[in-house]
Amino acid sequence: MLDIFSKLFQKDTNSKDVAKERLRLVLIHDRANMSPELLQSLKEDLITVINKYLEVDQEALEVNLSNVDDSVALVANIPIVQVKRSL
């Protein structure tokens, strides 16, 4: 609801800002030399490792490269379903 509200009152983003933002994201990947396939495979490996300790929501798991203060960071958002007791 709030989303619709803000969209109604917000001016359309300039297309140059869209261009800049898209470029920024694509260049992070280009520069890190990391393909979506590689990222997917990293994600799968992460799940395997984490699953040894925690039960995580594999569907909701997100792994991305992002730009933090002029450097590139690997950001993972991993929702935990349950902590495994038996370890």
Binding site: N14, S15, K16, D17, A19, K20, R22, L23, R24, V26, L27, D30, R31
Partner: protein
């Protein structure tokens, strides 16, 4: 001892050849002894842009294969005695020349010329590797479009890997009206993204089409906006400190540029 500058972009069609022709002519206007090398073997075009297509006898490949002497292959410009063109071969492919041969050629030319400008082919394959091998530094041409900027970024990385440091950026074909309405990236946006030094900005100018049709570099035109931009870039290459066109705000940028061509107040 001369200086070898490679004009490159990654993406095709952004204006490498036009930039090479105009900067070379501009350096010659300033009394420098200049040679332009068309490194785009198989897709020769710098001769056409310079209006020298009917004078070609030997080409770059003939020189490296020693079918002729270097002197014989250099074509003297129609307008300036101190400007020469070494054309690309049209019927060969990029593998006809090796990076080592290009390096040797550049060393040879540096003895006789103040500036050696190399028009690099599009792409990042063999032709690119040949073109950059003898270069002291690089001019990267881009347009304010996502695809051209992305490719420019890739080229910056590849140049760095080849130890060609500090490339300088020419933003070509900027459309002032689109920048003003924020539908085209401005100079600050481009510098922000690519993080390299700006050498100059060339606005989109119909004059370029006309001058290319005639085979006369636009810089020879006294009044056009693109001619002024090229002259500024030439002065910067010569080491002069020419202030960049104002870039604080797009509107100011637009206004000042309009003023430059006598449209604004």
């Amino acid at each position: 001892m001369g200086e070898v500058i490679v004009i490159t972009s990654g993406k095709g069609g952004v204006g490498k050849t036009t930039t090479t022709a105009n900067l070379g002519t501009g350096l010659a206007i300033n009394g420098k002894k200049v040679v332009l090398i068309d490194a785009d073997i198989g897709l020769r075009n710098l001769d056409l842009v310079m209006g020298l297509e009917n004078r070609i006898v030997y080409d770059l490949v003939d020189v490296v294969e020693e079918n002729c002497r270097l002197r014989q292959a250099l074509i003297k410009d129609k307008r300036f005695d101190n400007l020469y063109l070494l054309p690309a071969a049209q019927t060969r492919d990029k593998d006809a020349v090796s990076p080592d041969q290009m390096k040797k050629l550049c060393v040879e030319l540096k003895k006789d010329f103040d500036y050696i400008l190399i028009d690099c082919p599009a792409g990042i394959e063999q032709g690119f590797k040949n073109a950059i091998s003898g270069a002291d530094w690089a001019v990267i041409v881009t347009t304010p479009e996502v695809s051209a900027v992305r490719d420019a970024d890739r080229i910056i990385g590849l140049l760095e890997a080849a130890e060609i440091r500090n490339p300088k950026l020419v933003v070509n074909r900027i459309k002032l009206n689109l920048v003003a309405q924020k539908d085209m990236m401005n100079i600050n946006d481009m510098i922000d993204i690519l993080a390299i030094e700006l050498l100059g900005v060339v606005p989109d100018d119909e004059k370029i089409v006309i001058s290319t049709n005639r085979g006369e570099p636009a810089i020879l035109d006294e009044i056009s906006l693109s001619s002024k931009s090229y002259k500024n870039i030439v002065r910067r290459i010569l080491g002069e400190d020419v202030p960049l066109m104002p870039m604080e705000a797009e509107t100011t940028f637009f206004g000042k540029l309009k003023k430059l061509i006598g449209l604004g107040s």
